[in-house]
Symmetry: C2
Subunit: 145 residues, 2 copies
DNA sequence: TATTGTTATACTCTATAACTATA
DNA sequence: TATAGTTATAGAGTATAACAATA
């Protein structure tokens, strides 16, 4: 249970985090903006899925998901297969080209973080990842009413 | 010095953080979007300053800063005073109305975080704020060439 | 009637470039 | 000539609402 001053400090850091996110965005391939990268990463992580499931994992409206998916499919990085169980649905699946794109994304982000976090210990990187994961869970647990 | 797998996990958490930021944004007053809140917060934190200094603290282009400042000034939350040392410059200063708005922002964010982070210890909140602050510093230290 | 997904519209945030006023 | 700030334009991300197809 923390106090108001601590929460305000945390909010300041949340706000300042935008600069980190923007720099990550700048090193991405021009054809693959952040939304596309998120789609590829989640499909890699969780396997084939439907639009609605992807929207849930992205934590954005399905209309937004639809846009991102259309962009990614247009580049040939995923394919949209018919769902035999429900003709309204489509199953999303990474293509070999999509896996190649994921490799490129990984190379770029690893290269940037290797430089920027050169002075961070293994434990610190893990701790930040763990706390941010817990933060996301704490917010996802109680969706806005 | 961390490995590629750890960096990829960290990048996933960076991406997922967007959901937290969006929920924070949803509870803001409609007249005061994120950019405006950042301007008010930084002026409160660092005192009166010029546009260029604010742009540096926001870590965005001055054209973006100019937009946010115009919005905030239009609501009467800050005033733009002439700089006696340089007629091209303007000194930004919070008004009483601006301080009132800051109080409202603080109430809303504290209320949200009190609920969402109810199970977090004081130490964990402090640790997350500290690590995110260090992350920002690690990125700011080497601006993009 | 309800659900899956798409599209149209609108709003926020951002960067680049052109512009002005002053240094 | 260089700098402080503004504005116009363009692009990415998002949400809401209206819509089509299917359950």
């Amino acid at each position: 249970m923390a106090g108001q001053a601590q929460y305000e400090e945390l909010v300041r850091q949340f706000s300042a985090f935008g600069a980190v996110k923007r720099e990550m965005g700048r090193i991405m391939p021009p054809e693959c903006p952040g939304g596309s990268a998120a789609v590829l990463t989640l499909l890699d992580r969780h396997g084939d899925m439907r639009m609605s499931r992807l929207a849930e994992l992205l934590a954005v409206d399905m209309s937004v998901t639809s846009r991102h998916v259309a962009h990614v499919a247009g580049r040939g990085w995923i394919e949209r297969l018919p769902d035999p169980a429900d003709k309204r649905s489509r199953i999303l699946r990474l293509t070999p080209s999509g896996y190649a794109q994921l490799g490129e994304l990984s190379r770029r982000t690893t290269e940037l973080l290797t430089h920027r976090l050169a002075h961070w210990s293994d434990e610190e990187v893990g701790q930040l990842a763990r706390l941010m994961g817990r933060l996301r869970e704490s917010f996802a647990a109680q969706p806005t009413p």
